[in-house]
């Protein structure tokens, strides 16, 4: 299942400068793993050694915080859009 993962500029540098990537997987975690496997330098920035997301990196699936939908266990479908946003909040 092809979903789009959009990286922030700070991570795109580790993925050949490309911000938008196609990825496959039935869950967010699988899609992230798919992307990580293609870009080994990017991989450790997307999730930790246990395969869990970092506290400083938020994943949004179709504009919703993935943590409200099971985190990396969130199901994803063809056409879903995932955005990766390093967490900065407060204003």
């Amino acid at each position: 299942m092809a979903i789009t993962i959009t990286l922030p500029v700070v991570l795109a540098k580790l993925a050949k400068g490309e911000r938008a990537h196609s990825a496959s997987g039935a869950t967010l975690g699988e899609a992230v793993a798919d992307l990580a496997q293609r870009y080994p330098e990017l991989a450790p920035r997307l999730r930790d050694e246990r395969g869990e997301p970092y506290p400083y990196v938020t994943y949004y699936v179709n504009d919703e915080d993935a943590r409200f939908h099971g985190g990396f266990g969130a199901r994803v479908r063809d056409g879903d859009e995932v955005i990766v946003v390093p967490a900065i909040a407060g204003g």
Binding site: V10, R45, Y60, V85, G90, G91
Partner: protein, 460 residues
């Protein structure tokens, strides 16, 4: 209608002009971007380099706030020259400077004098004996940022710093994601500086906050969603358009402005640290920077004695940081906000972990208060001290009272409550809570009747 006289100076090619526009009817703000009046030709201060708070990686000064190596938060890194300049600053030197936050310039990330927003800071520290009695402590003070210049909230401090960083980096467009106070501040400071501003807010903010941003005519955008949606959108906006979004890509520089609240408290207490500080928690940045500020003044030998205990206030309808303090673990559990305290309704606070650690390590705690209690807090503060705070201020007072009931205060404590924004910005929160004032005919005997009723009620 004639066009209002503008003090903006425009430089050919800088920003976009919209000549001949009637400022009172045009839909969009005049894009008269350019250097601030009076700054053409003056040297721009050098901006500090940056360092990752987590892994220590270093970066040259830039509009970036995230470490490329570990995605941790960046902070300005003072160099040897900066530290030498701090060494040369005594209490007497500070005391002799004009009453703005720039009296602490050596602790802000600029080498050379920033030109924008020169008048912000040095708000009153108000002695509050009635509040001290309610809390059961020896002394209570209100750090009164409700009267901050120009936009009536503590956000003027971080914008004063952030907008000068934008200027030093040559950016002519600034912006922010905001629950209201930052929007007001960015719009106000940008208007004075002649910079274009894109201000993003949730679509349903309080009227006072919306008008309080719109009046300065930024590009004001209302977003359908929570503040967290607005913030995430602005992270994407910063990446896409390269604007100086103060609380996103300029966050490292912007955050330093909050330290000045601590510096002022220390100076206004005659160079001493309070024993306890109560502050509202939104993203968690203010409390973290208050601790940093007191710490830096201690390192500089300007104050001595132990650091204060830090107490955080949130609304029960959105309290991820207080819950983290209570649990004692190391991961924020995000919440979907549900509270009238919009300015602290941040379900995903990125500085939350750091704030929680700061609180615990200081021996402090947190309290999450109901909407009913925070409204009561606004009213108690007004009736005790003559200060009218917005909902975050009410939450701060209510939290201090809750902490009193839970036994966190010592009789010998000297507590400072950081009251961060003016009550007229959230007037809806309290407007419906009063009995209607009596309406009388213009007759003296009607006043006498009212006075007699009051005398009867109060027995005097």
């Amino acid at each position: 209608m004639t066009r209002a006289l503008s003090t903006r100076v425009t430089r050919p090619g800088a920003g976009r002009r919209s000549a001949g526009v009637n400022p009172s009817t045009d839909e969009h703000a005049t894009d008269a971007a350019g250097p601030a009046a009076g700054t053409v030709g003056t040297p721009v201060p050098r901006l500090s380099a940056l360092q990752c708070r987590l892994c220590g990686a270093r970066y040259a000064a830039a509009p970036i706030a995230i470490c490329e190596r570990c995605l941790g938060p960046l902070e300005p890194l003072p160099d040897e020259g900066d530290l030498r300049r701090r060494d040369g600053v005594t209490r007497q030197v500070i005391t002799s400077r004009p009453p703005s936050l720039w009296r602490y310039a050596e602790w802000l990330p600029f080498d050379g004098r920033p030109r924008l927003s020169p008048d912000t800071g040095f708000t009153p520290l108000v002695d509050a004996p009635a509040l001290a009695r309610l809390l059961g402590v020896e002394r209570a003070w209100v750090k009164n940022d409700t009267v901050s210049h120009p936009s009536l909230s503590f956000k003027d401090r971080v914008v004063a710093t952030g907008i000068n960083a934008a200027h030093a980096l040559g950016l002519t467009t600034v912006g922010c994601a905001s629950t209201g106070n930052l929007a007001n501040a960015v719009a106000a400071h940008a208007a004075r500086a002649g910079l274009a501003a894109w201000v993003f807010i949730p679509h349903d903010l309080e009227l006072g906050k919306v008008v309080g941003a719109a009046i300065y005519r930024p590009h004001l955008v209302r977003v359908q969603g929570t503040y967290d949606d607005v913030n995430r959108l602005c992270a994407q906006v910063a990446d896409e358009f390269g604007w100086g979004i103060l609380n996103v890509n300029l966050r490292a520089y912007y955050g330093e402005g909050s330290k000045t609240m601590a510096f002022e408290i220390a100076e206004q207490l005659d160079w001493r640290s309070p024993t306890a500080v109560v502050a509202p928690l939104a993203g968690g940045s203010l409390l973290s920077k208050l601790a940093k500020g007191f710490g830096e003044f201690r390192s500089a030998g300007l104050i001595d004695g132990p650091p204060p205990r830090f107490y955080g206030a949130q609304a029960a309808g959105c309290a991820p940081i207080v819950r983290l303090v209570e649990r004692g673990d190391d991961r924020i559990v995000p919440e979907i906000p549900s509270t009238i305290a919009r300015s602290i309704a941040i379900g995903n606070p990125a500085d939350g972990l750091f704030a929680a650690r700061t609180i615990r390590e200081s021996g402090g705690w947190g309290a999450a208060v109901s909407d009913v209690d925070l409204v009561r807090g606004i009213r108690i503060l007004a009736e005790c001290t003559g200060i009218f705070a917005e909902t975050a201020g009410g939450a701060t007072v209510a939290a201090a009272l809750a902490l009193a009931r839970a036994g966190h205060w010592r009789a010998s404590d000297e507590v400072v409550l950081c009251i961060t924004g003016h009550g007229l910005k959230t007037v809806e929160a309290v407007a419906g809570t009063f009995d209607d004032a009596p309406v009388i005919a213009p007759r003296l005997r009607d006043v006498a009747a009212l006075a007699a009723r009051v005398a009867q009620r109060t027995g005097g």
